[in-house]
C-alpha cells in the first residue's frame, strides 16, 4: 500500500515534467527535419516558447542556439548572419551555467558556431577562429570520445585544414566511419542532441 502511495505521489510531481518533455520531443524532431528558413523560423519560435516557459530546461536553449547557427547559413544578409550567431553565443554562454548540461555537446555546438562565423566571412574570420574551433572539438571529445557530432565536425574541419596546408589528414576515413556507426546507435527517442548525421553523409560524398 505504502509503495503504491509513494508511486502515486511521485507520479503527481513528475507529471508536468514528463508532459513537457513529451511536448519538446516532437519539436526536436522538427529541428532535424527543417530544411529552409520558414521551417527553421517555425521551429525556432517553438523552442523559444519552451525556453521562456521552462527556463530550467537546457535542451530548448541548446537547440535554439543550434537553429540560430543553421539560420546563419541560410539567410543572405551578413548583418542577419551575425545577429543569429551573436544570439547563439548568448544562449551558449547561458547554458554554461547549467549543471546538468551535456558539456561535450555544448563544446561541440560552440565549435560549430565558430565554424559558421568563419563561413560568414572566411577571409577575415578564418585566421581568427581556426585555433579556437579545433580547441572546442578537442575539449568536446575529451569529455566524451563517443560524441558523434564532435567527431564528424572535428574530422571535417581538420581535413579542410590539412588540405589548406597541403597535407593529408590520415584519420579522416576512420573518424567518419566511427561517427557513422555512433549515429546509427544513438537513441533518437531520448531528449538529447541528435543532430549532425547530415555531416557524415556530406563527408562520405566528399571523399
Amino acid at each position: 500500500m505504502k509503495t503504491i502511495k509513494s508511486f502515486l505521489w511521485l507520479l503527481f510531481f513528475l507529471l508536468p515534467i514528463v508532459a513537457s518533455a513529451q511536448e519538446l520531443a516532437p519539436v526536436v524532431q522538427n529541428v532535424n527535419n527543417a530544411k529552409d528558413v520558414p521551417g527553421l523560423m517555425q521551429v525556432r519560435s517553438q523552442l523559444e516558447r519552451f525556453m521562456v516557459a521552462q527556463p530550467e530546461q537546457w535542451l530548448a536553449g541548446y537547440y535554439l542556439a543550434y537553429v540560430d547557427v543553421q539560420l546563419s547559413f541560410r539567410v543572405p544578409s551578413s548583418d542577419e548572419k551575425l545577429q543569429y550567431l551573436s544570439e547563439a553565443e548568448t544562449y551558449l554562454n547561458k547554458l554554461s551555467g547549467f549543471k546538468e548540461v551535456d558539456k561535450s555537446e555544448l563544446y561541440t555546438l560552440k565549435g560549430f558556431r565558430l565554424y559558421a562565423l568563419i563561413a560568414s566571412n572566411p577571409q577575415a574570420n578564418g585566421p581568427k577562429y581556426s585555433g579556437e574551433i579545433v580547441g572546442a572539438y578537442e575539449t568536446a571529445l575529451g569529455i566524451n570520445p563517443n560524441n558523434p557530432r564532435a567527431l564528424i565536425l572535428s574530422a571535417l574541419f581538420k581535413n579542410d585544414l590539412a588540405k589548406f596546408m597541403h597535407q593529408p589528414y590520415v584519420n579522416f576515413q576512420k573518424d567518419v566511419e566511427k561517427a557513422a556507426s555512433l549515429f546509427t546507435v544513438q537513441n533518437t527517442n531520448l531528449l538529447t542532441p541528435t543532430w549532425g548525421k547530415y555531416w557524415v553523409d556530406f563527408a562520405i560524398t566528399k571523399k
Partner: protein, 715 residues
C-alpha cells in the same frame, strides 16, 4: 489513499478541462513603420501556446488559458513586446514592434563610426590584422600609424594624432589607464608598445572626440580589452631575430592563468645588420606578464594583469658642438598592475570597478653631459568605478567616478651639483553619459565629465554631444566635445599653477560598411588654449593653437579572391604657439599629407599571407637657425615600402618575416644643429634619420599543446 487518487484525477481533469474550452488568439504583427512582420514569435508568456506570424504578419492560435493573459511577441532585432489580453478581446489584435533596445546596449556613437559591437571592422582590429600588416613589425602602435589620423613620426614610434603631440594620446587596458605604454629606446630608435597585440581581444582606436569616460587625452584614445575568458590550455614559444619568448595558459572550469616571458637582445641582430648607431651594450629587454581570470558565473568577471619589464642599453653619442662622445646608459624598470571586476546584475545593472598601478623608474647615466646622471621615478594609481543601466528602450545611462593619484620625482646630478624636484597630485572626476535612441536610425549621446585637478586647484567641465544618423546603411555623425589635460610633468615641476590645457573638437563624418567593405570620410576642427608656453625663462599657460583636416579610409577585404587592400589618407593643418614654439607655427612632428596603401594577399598554394605597405608623408617642418623666424624650413618627404610574409608551416608552426624600407630611401625627419654658432664652420647640421635603413624581423611561433592550432597567443 482515496484522497490522493482524487487529487491526481483532478489534476488530469484540470488538464483535460483546459483542452476542452479553447479560445482563439488572433491578430497581426507590424513593425515601427506599420509594415507586416513575418516570423515573429507570438505566445502567451509562461506557456508554450503560441504561433509564428506569416508573411502578412498574421498569427492565430488556440489556448486553454483563462482570464487575462500576457501576450509576448519576440523577433530578433526587435524589443520584446508584452501586452495583457483578456479572453473576450483576444482577436483582431494589432501588435506593433519597435527595434531592439538590446542594440542600445551596444551603441557606441563615435565620429564617422557608428559601431555596433562585433559588427564593425574599422577601428576594432584583431591581433592577426596587426601582425599581417606590413611595416607593423608585429607592434601595435606601428600598425596604428597606418590608419588615417595617425601621423608618420618615424624616429619616435609613438602615436601622434591629428596634429597633436604624442603625450596627448592615452592608452587604457580594460578601461584602466597605462602610464607608460611605450618601451624605452635610444636616440632616434622608434619605441614599441610594451604589450603584445595578442593579449587583446579588442583594440579600439579613437582618433578624436573620444568618449568622456576617458581622461587626459586631448588627441586620442587607444582602448585595449583583454579576453574575459581563455578556455583552452596551451603552451607556445617563439624565437626571432631579436629574442625569444614563451608562455601559456592553464584553463580551469571557472577561469584561467596565463603567463608569458620575453627576452630581447639586439646584439646578434646588430652583428648581422649593423646600423648607424654606436652601441656599447645593445638594447636588452626582459619582460614577464601574467593574467588571472576568474568567472564565478556567466555574469561576473574578475581579471588581474601584472606586467614587469626591464630595459638596459648603453649607446655612444657624439656632441654636435665639440665632437666629444659620451656613453648614454639607460636602465628602465616598468611595472603595471591592473585588476578589474565586472558584473551584470539580474536587474540589468552593469557594475564595473577597477584599480591600476603603474610604476616607472628610469636611470640614465651620461644623459646630457659626460659623468652626469638623471633619475626619474614616476607612479600612478588609477581607481575607477561605473554603473551602466538601460532604463527604457530609449535610454541608457552610464555614470562613474575615478581618481588618478600621481607622483613624479626627478634628480639630475652633475659634478657636485644635485638638483631634485617632485610633484604629488591627483585628478578626481565624475562622469555621466546618456545614450538616447531618438528613433530607429537616430542616436544621440550626451555626456559630461567634471574633473578636479589638485595641483592647480581647478575644476573643469567637459561636455560632449554626439549624434549619429543612419540613412540606408550610411552612417552620418557629428560630435562637439571639450577635452582637458594637465601639462606634462616637466612643466608642472617648474610651475605648479599652470592651467589645464583645453581642446574643443568639432568632428563630422560619414561611414559605410558592408560585409567586406568599409568606406569612411571624416573632417575635424580643433582649437587649443591654456597650453604650456615657455618664452625666455617665463613659463605660462598662454599657449594656443588649432588643427584641422580630413581623413579618408577605404578597406575592401575581398576585392579579388584572397586579396585585401586598405587606403588611408589624412590631410592635416596644425599650428601652435606652445612649449618652446614662441610663434604660431607648425610643430616639428606635424605633417600635412599622410597616405598609406596596404595590401594583403593570401597565397593559398604557398600557405602564406603576403603583405605590402607603402607609406608616404609630406616633409616635416624644422627650424634652421641660419634663417629668419622659427620652423622656417621643410625636410624632404617620407616614403617607405614594407613587406611581410606569414607562412603557415603547419598548424603548430607559423613563420613570420618582415622587412621595412625595401627601396632603401633615406628618410630625413628633422635636422639637429649645433648650439654654438662659433664652432668650426658655423652651425653644424646633422639629419635626424632612421637608426638603420632597413629593419628585418624573422620569427618562428610554435604551439606546443595539443588543443590549439594557428594560435600564437600565449594568453
Amino acid at each position: 489513499m482515496k484522497r490522493i487518487c482524487i487529487l491526481i484525477l483532478l489534476s488530469f481533469a484540470g488538464e483535460l478541462n483546459g483542452f476542452a474550452q479553447l479560445h482563439t488568439v488572433e491578430g497581426k504583427v507590424l513593425n515601427e513603420k506599420s509594415n507586416p512582420m513575418a516570423h515573429a514569435n507570438v505566445f502567451i508568456k509562461g506557456t508554450i501556446d503560441g504561433a509564428t506570424s506569416d508573411s502578412l504578419g498574421h498569427f492565430s492560435f488556440e489556448t486553454g488559458q483563462k482570464g487575462v493573459i500576457t501576450l509576448c511577441v519576440r523577433m530578433l532585432g526587435y524589443a520584446e513586446f508584452l501586452m495583457p489580453v483578456s479572453e473576450k478581446k483576444s482577436t483582431a489584435l494589432v501588435l506593433k514592434m519597435r527595434p531592439d533596445n538590446i542594440t542600445l546596449d551596444n551603441v557606441v556613437v563615435t565620429a564617422g563610426n557608428f559601431r555596433l559591437k562585433g559588427n564593425s571592422q574599422f577601428g576594432k582590429m584583431s591581433a592577426v590584422d596587426i601582425v599581417t600588416t606590413a611595416g607593423s613589425t608585429g607592434d601595435l602602435y606601428h600598425s596604428l600609424r597606418t590608419l588615417p589620423g595617425a601621423q608618420m613620426v618615424g624616429e619616435s614610434g609613438k602615436l601622434f594624432i591629428r596634429g597633436g603631440d604624442s603625450n596627448e594620446s592615452q592608452t587604457y587596458i580594460d578601461e584602466m589607464h597605462v602610464l607608460s605604454p611605450y618601451t624605452t629606446t635610444g636616440d632616434n630608435v622608434p619605441v614599441r608598445g610594451r604589450y603584445s597585440p595578442f593579449m587583446f581581444e579588442g583594440i579600439n582606436f579613437s582618433t578624436g572626440a573620444s568618449s568622456s569616460e576617458y581622461a587626459q587625452g586631448l588627441s586620442g584614445i587607444l582602448a585595449l580589452n583583454t579576453k574575459d575568458a581563455s578556455p583552452v590550455t596551451k603552451i607556445g614559444v617563439n624565437v626571432s631575430s631579436v629574442g625569444m619568448s614563451g608562455g601559456g595558459t592553464q584553463a580551469f572550469e571557472k577561469g584561467s592563468v596565463s603567463v608569458n616571458l620575453d627576452y630581447q637582445n639586439m646584439k646578434p641582430y646588430y652583428a648581422l645588420f649593423p646600423g648607424r648607431l654606436n652601441w656599447i651594450n645593445p638594447y636588452q629587454l626582459f619582460s614577464g606578464s601574467s593574467q588571472i581570470r576568474f568567472n564565478p558565473n556567466q555574469s561576473t568577471v574578475f581579471k588581474t594583469f601584472i606586467g614587469y619589464d626591464r630595459t638596459t642599453f648603453i649607446q655612444q653619442l657624439t656632441s654636435l658642438d665639440n665632437q666629444t662622445t659620451r656613453d648614454f646608459g639607460m636602465k628602465d624598470d616598468n611595472f603595471y598592475l591592473n585588476s578589474t571586476f565586472q558584473k551584470t546584475t539580474e536587474s540589468g545593472y552593469k557594475v564595473f570597478a577597477g584599480a591600476a598601478f603603474s610604476y616607472k623608474n628610469e636611470q640614465i647615466d651620461n644623459a646630457v653631459l659626460s659623468a652626469d646622471s638623471y633619475r626619474d621615478k614616476e607612479w600612478e594609481v588609477h581607481l575607477k568605478t561605473k554603473l551602466t543601466k538601460r532604463y527604457t528602450d530609449f535610454l541608457r545611462l552610464n555614470v562613474g567616478l575615478e581618481d588618478f593619484i600621481r607622483h613624479d620625482e626627478t634628480t639630475y646630478a652633475y659634478s657636485s651639483t644635485v638638483h631634485s624636484d617632485s610633484i604629488n597630485h591627483s585628478i578626481g572626476a565624475v562622469f555621466a553619459t546618456a545614450v538616447l535612441n531618438i528613433s530607429s536610425n537616430l542616436y544621440a549621446e550626451l555626456s559630461e565629465r567634471m574633473e578636479y585637478t589638485s595641483i592647480n586647484n581647478l575644476w573643469n567641465s567637459n561636455p560632449r554631444l554626439a549624434l549619429s544618423y543612419n540613412l540606408k546603411g550610411v552612417h552620418f555623425s557629428g560630435i562637439i566635445g571639450k577635452y582637458t589635460q594637465l601639462p606634462e610633468n616637466k612643466y608642472l615641476m617648474l610651475n605648479k599653477y599652470l592651467l589645464t590645457g583645453q581642446c574643443m573638437q568639432y568632428v563630422g563624418g560619414m561611414y559605410y560598411e558592408k560585409r567586406d567593405k568599409i568606406y569612411r570620410i571624416e573632417t575635424y576642427y580643433k582649437t587649443y588654449k591654456d597650453l604650456a608656453l615657455q618664452e625666455s625663462t617665463v613659463l605660462t599657460s598662454d599657449g594656443y593653437g588649432h588643427s584641422k583636416g580630413v581623413d579618408v579610409f577605404f578597406n575592401e577585404r575581398a576585392l579579388f579572391k584572397n586579396f585585401e587592400y586598405m587606403l588611408a589618407y589624412s590631410y592635416s593643418l596644425s599650428k601652435r604657439k606652445y612649449q618652446d614654439y614662441t610663434e604660431l607655427s607648425t610643430p616639428q612632428y606635424a605633417t600635412t599629407h599622410n597616405a598609406t596603401v596596404s595590401i594583403k594577399y593570401n597565397i593559398q598554394a604557398l600557405k602564406s599571407i603576403l603583405g605590402v605597405t607603402n607609406r608616404f608623408a609630406s616633409g616635416r617642418p624644422y627650424h634652421d637657425p641660419t634663417k629668419e623666424g622659427i620652423m622656417n624650413s621643410t625636410a624632404g618627404f617620407y616614403n617607405s615600402v614594407d613587406m611581410s610574409l606569414t607562412y603557415l608551416a603547419s598548424k603548430k608552426v607559423i613563420l613570420y618575416a618582415s622587412a621595412t624600407n625595401l627601396l632603401g630611401r633615406q628618410n630625413v625627419y628633422n635636422y639637429n644643429y649645433s648650439v654654438d654658432v662659433n664652432s668650426p664652420g658655423g652651425y653644424r647640421k646633422t639629419p635626424v634619420i632612421d637608426s638603420s635603413t632597413h629593419f628585418f624581423y624573422i620569427g618562428i611561433f610554435i604551439t606546443l599543446s595539443g588543443k590549439t592550432a594557428y594560435d600564437v597567443s600565449n594568453f
